[in-house]
């Protein structure tokens, strides 16, 4: 997601890694769960509809993982790492309030089998993401 950073700073969980485009990744075993940061969700305001990559599809780092519409604006969601989509959170697709209310929990978006878990380590820590968010304030 690409968006303006100008409202209150969120507290970003320290057990997650973050992308500049505001996706987060949690690695558990060989499965990576991906979602959108609370900050991104806050910036998007009213979420209307989301479309995510299908299970079984391969995604590349920086490739499109899905799309979400908000305020007549269709926003691309990018894959922060490469891998195969294992599962899509159908509950979020059916009810976007889960993403709005619990972006790090029940509002996760997809689970991926990473091609290379080292890609996750290369992503930003919560501290780095906090600085990046602050640095991009207009």
């Amino acid at each position: 997601m690409i968006m303006e950073i100008h409202t209150k700073m969120s507290n970003f969980p320290t057990d997650l890694r973050y992308a500049e485009t505001h996706e987060w990744v949690r690695l558990e075993g060989d499965t990576a769960t991906i979602g959108l940061s609370a900050f991104a969700v806050e910036q998007l305001t009213d979420l209307i509809v989301i479309d995510l990559a299908k299970p079984g599809s391969k995604v590349k780092t920086g490739g499109r993982l899905g799309e979400v519409e908000s305020v007549k604006s269709v926003n691309d969601i990018y894959a922060p790492i490469a891998g195969e989509v294992l599962e899509v959170n159908a509950a979020v697709v059916a009810d976007l309030s889960k993403l709005s209310n619990d972006p790090y929990g029940s509002g996760w978006l997809v689970k991926i089998k990473p091609d290379n878990t080292a890609d996750i380590e290369a992503m930003m820590s919560a501290d780095d993401y906090t600085k990046a968010v602050a640095g991009s304030d207009h």
């Binding site: 519409e69 305020v71 007549k72």
Partner: protein, 264 residues
């Protein structure tokens, strides 16, 4: 201080829906290579056309919504929002690189463009205003509901950033935001259509019979210059780059396929 950005304006084009959407998608892709350039194009439609919002796929629409439009040209936009009936309207597409302040958020870009439009409209006698929060019941930056709950036609819907005349929407917009740039579509509802499902929507000339500029194409020429002045950007009228023309052709062929209407 001179802006580091340029405003490249393409000549107003009269073409079918797939060609127009193909050009816009090609320009959005091309913007990856032109981070210092804002692209503006204006166009009219060679046949009355219904453009669907990106998430309004044709096969998912209820039959009662489709029936009145079954014998007209239909295209799906890359941008969000509701369907627009392009029958005598003026459409614009603007591509703003993500590193420009106007692309910082959806609302900022809507307001920057709508300020320029309303300023130019005022000089011709139409006092367009942003829909007020009190009137619409929605705060700026908020839409009025989900795709399923929203009116099918964009001009039957209301958003705080719409431009209204005598309380009636005459300019609406929608966006596609990618990592490197944002495409904003806008439609200026010039005059009332005779189509049975859109004839209840008065246009600019219906609401302001004394509006000085009668020709949307002439108005479009002035719009680029107005944006240039308002945004303090060097104005350059250019032909579309060859690679954009080629990419637009490829896109338009894809957009003409039923598959594009039916799938995301």
């Amino acid at each position: 201080m001179r802006s580091k950005y340029n405003l490249n304006v393409l000549p107003t084009m009269h073409a079918d829906g797939a060609t127009q959407m193909g050009f816009d998608l090609a320009l959005l892709d091309h913007a990856h290579e032109t981070p210092d350039t804002i692209w503006l194009r204006t166009y009219t439609w060679s046949a009355p056309t219904l453009s669907l919002g990106y998430f309004q796929t044709w096969k998912e629409l209820p039959e009662q919504l489709k029936t009145p439009w079954e014998n007209v040209a239909v295209v799906r936009r890359p941008t969000g929002g509701g369907a627009i009936w392009h029958d005598g309207d003026l459409t614009y597409a603007i591509v703003v690189p993500s590193n420009h302040a106007w692309a910082a958020s959806a609302r900022v870009l809507y307001q920057a463009i709508h300020d320029a439009i309303s300023g130019l409209m005022a000089s011709d006698g139409a006092n367009l205003q942003r829909r007020q929060v009190e009137a619409s019941g929605v705060e700026s930056g908020q839409a009025t509901g989900s795709v399923a709950n929203s009116p099918f036609l964009c001009f039957d819907d209301g958003d705080a950033d719409d431009l209204v005349l005598r309380g009636i929407k005459v300019v609406g917009g929608a966006q596609r935001r990618r990592g490197w740039a944002t495409l904003q579509h806008g439609s200026i509802h010039w005059e009332r259509s005779s189509h049975e499902s859109a004839s209840h929507l008065p246009g600019l000339l219906d609401l302001c019979p004394d509006f000085a500029e009668r020709s949307p194409v002439k108005w479009a020429d002035r719009f680029g210059k107005r944006l240039s002045e308002a945004w303090e950007l060097p104005y350059k009228l250019v032909q579309p780059p060859a690679e954009v023309v080629m990419a637009a052709h490829a896109w338009s062929n894809r957009l003409k396929e039923l598959e594009w209407l039916e799938k995301r």
